[in-house]
């Protein structure tokens, strides 16, 4: 095999395979983490029967879902019904392709390997467009189920995701203006000179992004599409077994994706706190092994922090009503993110006329 083939086919394929495998495990354990944290907040024990401290619970859940009967309801559109979970999980995983988990390339069998799958110059646009495809899975799933609850859930979901797409996209623009690039690696590099990355100059943007992202991923307090108290389980009502698991996995992968985007765009990606202060270099304590490990460490810490906030929200807030959700999106987040763009632009012009 020529070097060309190895560099351009074998290594990326291996990285994709590794990422899918790791992400599958992470998603499973994210569900356990969520249950543990909720249990801690709600004064109960959370799973602890399967394996030491319940650590094998996700595996037991996975096996249970795999061996469940795969029901397709009468009158359902069979093709679309099978297609919907796949349509919802593919974009979730595809978005992982441009996330920079660390920067420094490392050597493997004489080949230089970057610790992310790829870096494209329109990385942010790629993520936005890919993640917005997830709504098709939900609409088709709700439509194909031939159930009124599913249909109502899917309609809510479509309206919600399309509405929150707008402030989500606009909230990112402030960062793009400061960084001057849409490449994910480039955006992280642009934050090197600032003590608190883009967190302080773009705090409003981060706020808008975070709220919209919670709505995008259908989590409490915006989990109307699957509001269990009203619509039983929304678009997922008729799904069972592995197809249901696909929807769940898509939700959790999406959580990881939006947390990673927030980390990359606002929290300095793989960089330690105060990346411009030399005296704090000891924070990169994993550098003795490899700088990529250190980057991965800080990236994971930040992503976990955001995921914790996600779960915390679920433990604390009641659920919004449909019309209130729309009002919040269009009347508050949209003007706020527009104002953020305007003010960022004015400051940039004032600084470098």
């Amino acid at each position: 095999m020529s070097d060309q083939v190895i560099q351009n086919v074998i290594i990326p394929a291996a990285k994709v395979g590794l990422l899918l495998a790791v992400m599958g495990g992470l998603v499973a354990y994210l569900t356990l983490l969520e249950r543990k944290i909720l249990g801690f907040m709600q004064l109960r024990l959370a799973p602890r029967r399967v394996g030491p401290r319940g650590l094998l619970q996700p595996i037991a859940d996975g096996i249970k879902l795999l061996i469940k009967e795969d029901v397709v309801p009468d009158g359902a559109d069979r093709g679309l019904f099978l297609l919907a979970p796949i349509l919802s999980i593919i974009p979730a995983f595809a978005a992982l392709a441009v996330l920079p988990f660390a920067s420094t390339p490392f050597e493997l069998f004489g080949y230089e390997v970057t610790p992310y799958i790829t870096d494209v110059n329109i990385g942010v646009l790629y993520v936005l467009s890919i993640t917005s495809l997830g709504v098709y899975g939900i609409i088709l799933g709700g439509w194909a189920s031939n159930s009124k609850y599913s249909l109502l859930g899917a309609l809510r979901s479509a309206a919600q995701m399309v509405s929150y797409e707008v402030p989500l996209g606009l909230s990112i623009i402030g960062v793009l203006m400061l960084a001057g690039t849409a490449s994910m690696v480039g955006i992280v590099e642009a934050q090197r000179s600032s003590a608190w990355w883009f967190l302080v100059p773009q705090a409003v943007g981060l706020f808008c992004y975070f709220v919209s992202a919670v709505a995008e991923t259908n989590r409490l307090p915006f989990d109307l599409p699957e509001a269990e108290a009203e619509l039983v389980a929304g678009y997922q009502t008729e799904y069972a077994g592995m197809k249901f698991a696909f929807f769940m996995m898509a939700e959790y992968v999406n959580m990881i994706v939006v947390a990673s985007i927030a980390t990359t765009l606002w929290l300095g990606g793989w960089m330690r706190p105060f990346p411009n202060v030399e005296a704090l270099a000891f924070l990169d304590w994993l550098n003795w092994a490899h700088p990529a490990l250190s980057g991965l460490f800080w990236f994971s810490v930040k992503v976990l922090l955001i995921l914790y906030i996600y779960i915390w929200l679920r433990g604390t807030f009641p659920r919004y009503r449909y019309d209130q959700l729309m009002r919040l999106g269009w009347k508050w987040l949209l003007p706020l993110s527009l104002a953020n763009i305007l003010i960022t632009g004015l400051v940039l012009v004032w600084r470098n006329p």
Partner: protein, 366 residues
């Protein structure tokens, strides 16, 4: 050009938030509720007929199973009706203990209401907090009578037995513990913006509507009518207790939430007074036969249960069993007003309204 049609949705009888086997036939215009018809009877056990074949002292355990969340009140109401019918005087100590138990039960019932109401609206954590505290009340019941839910603690002419050693102290510890816990629920909900948006102006029922639909209990008081049987026709030892009847003028879900929370505080106040003044003496009226006979006649007795006015109508023809029984179930009457409260609202409001009516289907269907 486009054909529009209303959507008929069946909510229940198997549904996570209909609090049992309630079925609602909803007519929806998109998300807006055009009409709602409650369909009940899935839990009908023919209790009233059943009672006609039981001697008087065998009926209370059945009453427990009407409103199983507030079983002590059901029990108390029936037994007081029998006592009224047969003209039995109850010793003072028994009347005090009855009051304490009934108030503890009201507290337990309101805790279940708050937890499930919160859960329906999406506030998951409150549910676990509430059930944690309700557990203490059930422990107290268990220490007294051995049962936790369907307690059957009262007897015609008094109570089952005297309080066990240490019970009063345990009860005191509980009522000292509760006020900060109620603050905790309030901290999670009362000023929570989402909670306010979900409950304020939702499920409004005016005082006039409430009265004409026969709505009672916290729902009536949250519409501004200060009607409480414990004040108007005191039974047990309520005439010797000091407590307020909380009311709110708004008549919406938030007002009912505030009224019930305040009732929980008032219940604590009543229990504390009861424990402080608990008189010594007999706990059963003397010389009662198991197969007692009530003189021919009829009697209607009302008490203030956690959900509203619980009425007990007994007819006797002088025999060992009641000739006819009828129970006025507050859940049934309050549920009838669901149409007035939720027409024109959204689907999500239905869930809030069911929660705020605080129905128990066992009570509703009998």
């Amino acid at each position: 050009m486009f054909r529009t049609e209303m959507m008929e949705v069946n909510m229940g009888p198997q549904h996570p938030s209909t609090h049992g086997v309630l079925r609602l036939a909803l007519t929806l215009d998109g998300e807006t509720v055009v009409d709602v018809k409650p369909i009940i009877g899935y839990l009908h056990r023919g209790v009233e007929k059943l009672c006609e074949h039981k001697i008087y002292v065998m009926v209370p355990p059945i009453c427990d199973r009407l409103d199983y969340v507030g079983s002590a009140s059901q029990n108390l109401g029936y037994i007081q009706a029998v006592e009224k019918l047969a003209g039995i005087e109850v010793p003072e100590r028994a009347r005090y203990i009855r009051t304490i138990i009934a108030e503890l039960n009201r507290l337990a019932s309101h805790l279940v209401w708050l937890g499930t109401h919160g859960l329906d609206i999406g506030a998951m954590t409150v549910f676990f907090y509430c059930l944690r505290d309700r557990e203490h009340i059930l422990d107290l019941f268990e220490a007294f009578c051995g049962a936790r839910l369907t307690t059957n603690m009262f007897r015609v002419g008094g109570i089952l037995d005297d309080l066990p050693a240490g019970w009063v102290e345990g009860c005191r510890r509980f009522i000292d513990m509760m006020p900060p816990r109620i603050e905790e629920y309030e901290g999670l909900l009362t000023n929570n913006r989402i909670w306010l948006e979900r409950t304020k102006g939702v499920g409004v029922i005016s005082a006039q509507d409430a009265v004409s639909w026969g709505v009672t209990g916290p729902m009536l008081r949250a519409s501004g009518v200060a009607y409480d049987i414990r004040k108007t026709e005191p039974y047990a030892a309520y005439d010797q207790m000091e407590f307020d009847v909380p009311t709110r003028p708004e008549g919406d879900t938030y007002a009912r939430y505030l009224v019930r929370l305040e009732e929980m505080r008032q219940s604590l106040r009543i229990i504390r007074q009861g424990l402080d003044r608990l008189p010594a003496g007999e706990i059963r009226a003397p010389k009662l036969k198991t197969r007692m006979k009530a003189p021919a006649g009829e009697v209607y007795h009302e008490i203030e249960g956690p959900r509203g006015v619980q009425g007990f109508y007994l007819v006797s023809n002088g025999g060992e069993t009641p000739y006819r029984c009828h129970f006025r179930a507050p859940s049934f009457v309050n549920l009838a007003a669901i149409g007035v409260m939720s027409r024109g609202g959204l689907v999500a409001d239905i869930v809030a309204v069911i929660g705020t009516i605080d129905i128990v289907l066992g009570d509703c269907d009998r």
